[in-house]
Symmetry: C2
Subunit: 123 residues, 2 copies
DNA sequence: CTGTATCCATGCCGATACTG
DNA sequence: CAGTATCGGCATGGATACAG
């Protein structure tokens, strides 16, 4: 998105999707919802995320007050991340969408296959 | 996302977000939820979307069985888009997220401002 | 009016290397 | 362990031109 459009102001969900739509955010939130977690532990469990994207994602979430960052200096230094109350509430708001996804997953795959079959005929 | 990761299979919400996270999809679905709409009418109301992205977005949604496409040939030719039952159910599943967004919008902006103020101090 | 095809700028993100 | 900095490839998406 190059510039904020007219619809942006009127549509708060657009803002949320910009944050949540990157896919990593939701995975991180889902993991943290299970309980606080350290950086590298998160890195292992999210699987596939690069060190950079985990750092960036966590910064964004922290910035938005969705994730808390607690530093316990020592040898070695530890940083523990967790969901804030706001983060938990976002996770809850995500639940219906997750349900929908789970319930329609297969039907969507079928539709997609059918659609592509039609396209193949046309070509 | 370069390749499907381990988490992908287990996490259906990831699939949905890939579809819905592009921001245009949600706006189009929201508009169509108000009632059927023609291509150019949609183009005007979504505001900011390019012809290309509207076409691509509609194709994807149709492909997934979320949007129906009805052609009424004539002079000039007309194409009307509308939500399918599945599309309506997705819109419903999106509602809690939209509510959350509306309710936390301001708080997030505040958090962000505060965070950036802190960062400015550090620098 | 409703698209499709092409071109090209932008920006995302993974890989890598380095720091406290 | 927990990051930041930099580079470079690749996909996204706007602009434009063209077609049915």
């Amino acid at each position: 998105m190059p510039a904020p459009h007219a619809t942006s102001h009127a549509c708060p969900i657009r803002d949320v999707l910009d944050r949540v739509g990157d896919a990593w955010s939701v995975l991180v939130i889902t993991e943290l919802n299970k309980g606080p977690c350290r950086f590298n532990a998160l890195r292992r469990v999210v699987d596939g995320i690069s060190q950079r994207m985990l750092a960036v994602t966590l910064r964004q979430l922290e910035r938005d007050g969705l994730v808390s960052r607690r530093v316990t200096d020592g040898r070695p230094p530890q940083v523990t991340y967790g969901l804030t109350a706001r983060g938990v509430s976002l996770h809850a708001a995500l639940a219906p969408l997750a349900d929908w996804a789970a319930r329609h997953q297969q039907a969507i795959r079928d539709s997609r296959a059918a659609f592509e079959a039609t396209q193949a005929l046309a070509a």
